[in-house]
């Protein structure tokens, strides 16, 4: 419950590519954000964050200067957050890992889509574990196409052979 209370003051801002999280209670007014990038972080404006004010890279660079967890950021494309290194000081996974676990957009909680195509392969889309042979892979927000006709030269994946062979099923 306490966590929910504190989260309720939070704001988040996005430009479609990244989301910047603002946690007012953590701010110590070090003022790096607006000295560095007033176009985005302007305390005299409401809302005080304008994500259109600068490029994504510039915003990330400025958010990373915040000495507290008042400003943090992450990619909207969840898959890209995995690869973020520790040089990105204020990425949420280092500062506010609770925000990483939050089900967001089309990631966690969304059922995987399995489509049996008309006389074609099985298309599997979403987040899932793929196992074949000794290989085990985590597929994130992506899709695979599995052969159903038994004739693909790139088993277990579809290579389009079903069309040449006139597969029906």
């Amino acid at each position: 419950m306490e966590k929910n209370m504190s989260l309720s003051d939070d704001r988040e801002y996005t430009n479609g590519e990244i989301t910047v999280y603002w946690k007012p209670g953590a701010c110590v007014h070090a003022s790096y954000c607006y000295r560095e990038l007033i176009e985005v972080f302007d305390p005299s404006r409401r809302p005080w964050v304008d994500m259109k004010g600068a490029s994504t890279m510039k915003i990330i660079e400025t958010v990373n200067m915040c000495p507290t967890e008042a400003l943090t950021w992450k990619w909207n494309d969840e898959g890209k957050n995995e690869d973020v290194g520790s040089d990105q000081y204020n990425h949420v996974k280092f500062r506010r890992p609770e925000l990483m676990e939050k089900p967001s957009s089309a990631s966690a909680g969304t059922p995987v889509s399995v489509k049996v195509m008309n006389d074609g392969p099985i298309i599997i889309k979403g987040n899932f574990n793929l196992k074949y042979g000794d290989i085990e892979k985590e597929i994130k927000d992506s899709l695979i196409s599995i052969c159903r006709c038994g004739r693909s030269e790139h088993q277990p994946f579809c290579d389009g052979t079903h069309r040449k062979k006139g597969f029906i099923g």
Binding site: E101, G109, V116
Partner: protein, 64 residues
């Protein structure tokens, strides 16, 4: 802000060597050929093209 205990991967897709495709977990199956949609929880889909119960495996791959 309800937090759910969801893991990033909730479904498992397993290619069984010499056999069908096993899918289990949180997924929706849409069969465009037969117009079916279901959430079966676990299925075995034919990969050899020989099943007479497509899209499901009926063991025909063994009789090749």
């Amino acid at each position: 802000m309800e937090k759910e205990e969801n893991k990033p991967s909730e479904a498992i897709v397993e290619v069984i060597t010499g056999g069908p495709l096993r899918i289990s977990g949180n997924f929706i199956l849409k069969d465009l050929k037969r117009g079916d949609e279901s959430t079966p929880g676990e299925i075995w889909l034919c990969r050899c093209g020989k099943s007479s119960n497509k899209p499901y495996c009926d063991g025909s791959h063994r009789n090749k």
